[in-house]
């Protein structure tokens, strides 16, 4: 299996790129594995990768009902940041951020993680109080970030409209310099290639149809490609976690909603950072290809249709035009939708379930992409050891019974 580098690229160029090996194999599923990961999105593939890398588990498989990275991993606006309010979230996302910072090298796959900074805008006095509170908490938690004024934002982003007479003027922002964006597909592919190299079977077009259990202990799954036995099963299926939970016989505090995003036609570089506004509902960055990548809001109703309402697009585009009036003549090329599983406290659920050996990692809502490596890392620990890592202990399912919620609504909103 060839390592990727400029040298291998040159070498292969000479042989017309005919000697590259597959980034990952497409094996037939075996009858039994030591562990199964259901869901071949970024989080699932990362879980498999770290299970192999950190916990030495090699006889494992990732089951994906469609094509890997085809869910929210390939449908989001790729924003990465760790400036969360509460300690529990901050530590988890910061773990993820640290993994991001070495991910391309670790995976030997350029995920194009680009730390061009993230601005979270404040449009009123309460926004600014919340921003101060969050940035102060971040700082004391060892996470970079500071509060910037409207003028400082304008200096960094000359195209932005900071007119204080507009409807919801930009008053200030938090700025996390280490935040940024990554190439979403590459993250799935890089983890898949890494996991495959460690021996993990990545099985696509394999839909789980039932979860087998005996006396409250998980024993395997039925799939469209036959039954597979395993005593450890990690479920990482984003929007579909309620469907899998129902198979296993319990309910989740989760509702799956459509979340939309859109891109413009490619234009020459004009935005060099990431700008997020909860208050007017618009997030924007520019991809390396030149598209303006824009996140819209979440639709209020539940939906598995991977599409939302036009009114949401209309509202977000208006918000972007308020912030960047010169973009009115730029054109929107394409829109799409994902399915986000939201929890009552806007925080994920990572950990054990009522069924022994069955673990769930879900509820990332609109913010899962940035957590991909960290989520996989802690979940691998949880699956391997049968109990949570310190970093995901607080994200247990039973917090909805005890009331120990981690309310990130203010900090997360529909933030990507």
């Amino acid at each position: 299996m060839s390592r990727y580098s400029i040298f291998s690229l040159v070498r292969n160029a000479l042989s017309y790129h005919e000697n590259w090996s597959a980034a990952w194999r497409s094996p037939e599923p075996k009858a039994q594995y030591d562990a199964l990961i259901i869901g071949g999105g970024g989080h699932g593939l990362a879980t498999a990768y770290y299970l192999a890398k950190e916990h030495g588990m090699k006889n494992i498989a990732v089951l994906e009902k469609g094509w890997i990275g085809g869910g929210n991993t390939g449908r989001n606006t790729t924003i990465v940041r760790s400036n969360y309010l509460w300690d529990e979230s901050a530590h988890l996302y910061e773990k993820s951020m640290k993994l991001w910072e070495g991910l391309s090298q670790d995976l030997n796959y350029n995920v194009m993680f680009s730390q061009r900074g993230v601005y979270n805008l404040g449009h009123n006095l309460q926004d600014m109080r919340d921003i101060q509170r969050r940035v102060n908490a971040n700082r004391l938690n060892g996470i970079d970030g500071h509060v910037v004024s409207a003028q400082e934002i304008k200096q960094a982003i000359p195209e932005i409209n900071i007119d204080q007479g507009c409807r919801y003027p930009i008053i200030g922002a938090s700025f996390q310099p280490r935040g940024g964006v990554a190439r979403h597909d590459a993250v799935a592919w890089g983890f898949a290639r890494g996991a495959d190299r460690a021996g993990v079977d990545i099985i696509q077009n394999c839909e789980v149809t039932a979860i087998r259990q005996e006396n409250g202990v998980v024993t395997g799954v039925e799939t469209t490609r036959g039954a597979i036995k395993a005593n450890k099963i990690g479920v990482v299926v984003a929007g579909h976690c309620s469907v899998l939970a129902e198979m296993a016989g319990f309910r989740m505090p989760i509702e799956s909603h459509p979340l939309q995003a859109l891109v413009s036609e490619p234009i020459k570089p004009v935005i060099n950072t990431v700008i997020m506004s909860n208050a007017v509902h618009g997030y924007i960055s520019q991809s390396d290809k030149g598209d303006l990548v824009i996140g819209a809001g979440i639709d209020s109703y539940t939906g598995y249709g991977q599409r939302g309402s036009y009114s949401g697009i209309e509202h977000t585009v208006a918000a972007i035009c308020e912030m960047f009036p010169m973009f009115k003549r730029v054109r929107m090329n394409r829109q799409w939708g994902g399915i986000v599983d939201t929890t009552p406290d806007a925080c994920p659920i990572i950990g054990n379930t009522p069924v022994k050996g069955l673990y769930f990692n879900c509820g990332w809502g609109t913010g899962g992409f940035k957590a991909t490596p960290g989520s996989g890392w802690v979940f691998a620990h949880n699956v391997a050891n049968g109990e949570p890592h310190e970093l995901n202990r607080a994200f247990a399912l039973d917090r909805f019974v005890t009331g120990f919620l981690i309310d990130e609504h203010g900090a997360a909103g529909v933030a990507h």
Partner: protein
């Protein structure tokens, strides 16, 4: 954009309505006698099905009535809307047969 038939006002654009979550979740009567688990179940646990879903909507910009709808969460087709005091359509037919 959904087109939702308010049981009073008829078919109206989605933008007149607001979604109000899963329907037919009755508030427990003697809450103090409930276990933490039972209370959490009422408070947080949801069916969230992929397929037919019974849910509440409020005709917020219209008659301000809450009503129920049965909607497919994949196709978004609404097979029926019914008033709060009415039974879901399928239950009704079962009663009739």
């Amino acid at each position: 954009m959904l087109l939702i038939k308010c049981p009073w006002c008829g078919e109206r654009d989605e933008s007149e309505f607001s979604y109000a979550g899963e329907a037919h979740i009755a508030r427990p009567l003697e809450t103090e006698k409930l276990s933490d688990e039972a209370w959490a179940d009422y408070l947080f646990m949801r069916k969230n099905p992929k397929g037919a879903h019974r849910e509440q909507w409020l005709h917020a910009a219209g008659c301000r009535r809450y009503f129920n709808a049965e909607r497919d969460t994949v196709s978004y087709r609404i097979s029926a809307t019914y008033k709060i005091d009415e039974k879901p359509p399928r239950d009704q037919s079962r009663n009739q047969s």
